[in-house]
């Protein structure tokens, strides 16, 4: 039947166009990344060459010099030629990991527990409370910059580990509560009730039955909180300029002085990217909504 053949031909063209469009979009997004990675393997002089060299080994010789310097020590600068200074990057990276990590863990745990309560229990004024929680996300964060700064000064939380971590927890909690509440709402409460009938207390029932269901959602939520904390710049730059600074302000500081070492900066960025990419890749399955692993089909 030539009707069917025509239909199939039309769908083939459609499919080709589709993949061409996908390729173009991917190129648009991935090219800057590629540039950055390639730059991190170049000597400073090579970075600004025109036309730009994009393919390692074919167009230029890659070097690990930037990575080594960024992680250990680097030339102190033009004026102090011959001396070296410690790279501040490893400390900043460690701070980023610890602060963002702790904030994510705390926010997800607290938020999940709160979300469960909102989902299952009848709380007077629940609707208002939820709205209140959500409304904190409606404010542009920069509006709270000055009050927070003043608050941190009076508490003596400036330049501490716990201060900035708590701030990130407070920023991430609303998101966690909303995501996890929606998720718990979709899990029938009959599971816990069946477990309670079977002989467990509510706490045990939740731990044994509900939490395993919730872990994928918690991981997916964690990714978003982690990314938020990891990339946060404005507040941490203001509140933790000293020993407990994280990578974003550190990176920014590098740019400020005279000639920029693009190669080293690219290396710094690549290293900074790595943990997030790794974590996201590890939990990628759980990021797909609708992946209800092991759920009962009806």
């Amino acid at each position: 039947m030539n009707r069917t053949r025509r239909r199939r031909a039309r769908s083939l063209i459609g499919r080709i166009l589709f993949w061409v469009a996908v390729a173009m979009i991917l190129l648009f997004f991935l090219f800057p990344l590629h540039w950055m990675v390639v730059t991190s393997f170049k000597r400073t002089a090579e970075v600004t060459l025109l036309p730009p060299t994009l393919i390692p080994w074919v167009q230029f010789n890659p070097t690990l010099k930037n990575y080594v310097e960024v992680l250990t020590k680097m030339p102190a600068g033009l004026l102090s030629a011959g001396t070296y200074k410690q790279s501040g990057f490893p400390q900043a990276l460690l701070n980023s990991i610890l602060i963002s990590g702790a904030a994510t863990v705390i926010a997800v745990l607290l938020g999940t527990v709160a979300a469960y309560a909102f989902s299952r229990f009848r709380i007077p004024g629940k609707g208002d409370l939820l709205f209140f929680i959500l409304s904190t996300r409606m404010l542009p964060p920069v509006v709270t910059l000055v009050p927070v700064f003043v608050m941190f000064i009076s508490f003596g939380w400036r330049n501490t580990f716990h201060g900035i971590t708590l701030l990130y927890v407070a920023a991430g909690l609303p998101f966690v509560v909303w995501m996890m509440k929606g998720f718990f709402d979709e899990i029938p409460r009959e599971y816990e009730e069946a477990a309670m009938i079977d002989g467990y207390s509510r706490l045990e029932a939740v731990w044994k039955i509900v939490i395993p269901e919730a872990i994928p959602a918690m991981l997916a939520t964690a990714v978003f909180v982690l990314i938020m904390a990891w990339n946060e710049f404005l507040f941490v730059q203001l509140l933790n300029p000293g020993k407990f600074t994280t990578v974003p302000p550190f990176l920014y500081a590098i740019i400020g002085y005279g000639r920029v070492e693009w190669g080293r900066m690219a290396a710094t960025s690549v290293i900074f990217l790595a943990p997030i990419v790794l974590f996201t890749w590890l939990v990628r399955k759980h990021l797909l909504r609708g992946v209800t692993f092991g759920a009962v089909r009806r």
Partner: protein, 363 residues
């Protein structure tokens, strides 16, 4: 094994009263079916008995002992949910073993009980499947097995057969009844299907809008419904209701719409005195108690065929008598076209009379 006494149970959610002063006693080892339309309060009642909801007022007693403040686990009941609530990440064997683990049975004991119960329900071949791999009927039986694996005092079942397709439902009805007899345990079963109620229950409790309408055996609720609601709800084809008034001089019931007039039986003439308004009565007659024929007789009502529903073993013919509709059960060979004129006759000795205002049964 225990009896359940529900005393003046009231449960409200905000402004809605789900259960209203419900009092019911379920004997030890009895199979009691609570039946009513959706939203009648049956599930809420069941959940209060299970301890999953706290009553706003009233009490639930097991063997005379007040269960207030007793957790669901401590009440030692088994609950079969409408959508089974099988733990989705656990295999069938783990699902069934779960209650025993909660009560700290040893591995050996647990295994023995799981085998016993799965053999009884003929699901011993499914032990290592996950719930999503099972059919509806299989899931149902796993849920049952999980309930049966302990020996609870009471089985609570919330419309467990609703999601099954109709062949399976018929099969499970007799199986459930058989299981109850074998286990010799109290069953408190809730459903919106009156057929299930009639076929399974030792006694039936009819609920509507949170209030208990009537409780009794099949015969009692079918032959002697206490009010209009029970009469309309129980019975595979709904009872016919016709508004009428009692004419004392003529000793007859006349249709309010004026379409007919029938002589009242002796019993009717007596019972009708109990009502406050003789002009506001409802005559109830079941479809199988009405005769239909294409020829006309003397004291018969006339009507027109509206629709004929062939049900296989019988037909239900809807006849329009004036502005009212009367359903009549006929043998399957009886086929008429819509629009045909017919005459119908009521078996008055089998008729029911209801008060038009209170809807209570007068006889």
């Amino acid at each position: 094994m225990s009896s359940i006494t529900i005393k003046n149970l009231t449960k409200s959610f905000g402004d809605t009263i789900a259960v209203d002063e419900l009092s019911l006693h379920i004997e030890d080892r009895e199979f009691l079916v609570m039946v009513g339309p959706t939203g009648a309060g049956k599930t809420t009642t069941l959940r209060c008995v299970a301890g999953l909801e706290r009553p706003t007022n009233g009490a639930v007693l097991f063997d005379g002992e007040d269960m207030a403040g007793v957790s669901p686990a401590a009440r030692d009941v088994a609950f079969v949910f409408q959508d089974y609530a099988l733990y989705p990440r656990k295999m069938v064997s783990a699902n069934i073993a779960f209650p025993l683990e909660a009560r700290r049975y040893t591995k050996a004991q647990t295994e023995a009980e799981v085998v016993r119960v799965t053999r009884m329900l003929r699901i011993d071949g499914l032990l290592d499947r996950l719930p999503w791999q099972l059919s509806g009927g299989e899931q149902q039986r796993v849920a049952l097995a999980r309930a049966m694996v302990r020996t609870p005092r009471v089985f609570l079942m919330d419309e467990p057969l609703t999601n099954l397709d109709f062949q399976l439902r018929a099969q499970m009805r007799s199986e459930l009844k058989r299981i109850q007899r074998e286990l010799d345990v109290t069953f408190f079963y809730v459903t919106n299907d009156q057929l299930e109620a009639l076929s399974m229950g030792d006694r039936i409790a009819v609920l509507n809008k949170g209030r208990l309408q009537q409780v009794g055996t099949q015969d009692e609720v079918y032959e002697h419904p206490a009010n209009l609601f029970v009469a309309s709800f129980i019975g595979s084809t709904r009872m016919n209701f016709l508004k009428c008034a009692y004419n004392a001089d003529a000793g007859a019931l006349t249709s309010v719409m004026g379409a007919w007039s029938l002589p009242a039986t002796a019993e009717m003439r007596v019972r009708v005195q109990a009502t406050s308004d003789l002009g506001n009565l409802i005559l109830g007659i079941r479809p199988e108690d009405v005769q239909i024929s294409p020829e006309a007789g003397d004291d018969e009502l006339k009507g027109q065929v509206f629709v004929v529903e062939p049900l296989g073993d019988r037909n239900v013919v809807d006849v329009a008598v004036g502005p009212e509709m009367v359903k009549i059960k006929t043998p399957p060979a009886f086929l008429l076209d819509p629009g045909v004129q017919v005459s119908i006759r009521f078996s008055m000795s089998r008729a029911h009379l209801f008060d038009g205002v209170t809807h209570e049964a007068l006889m």
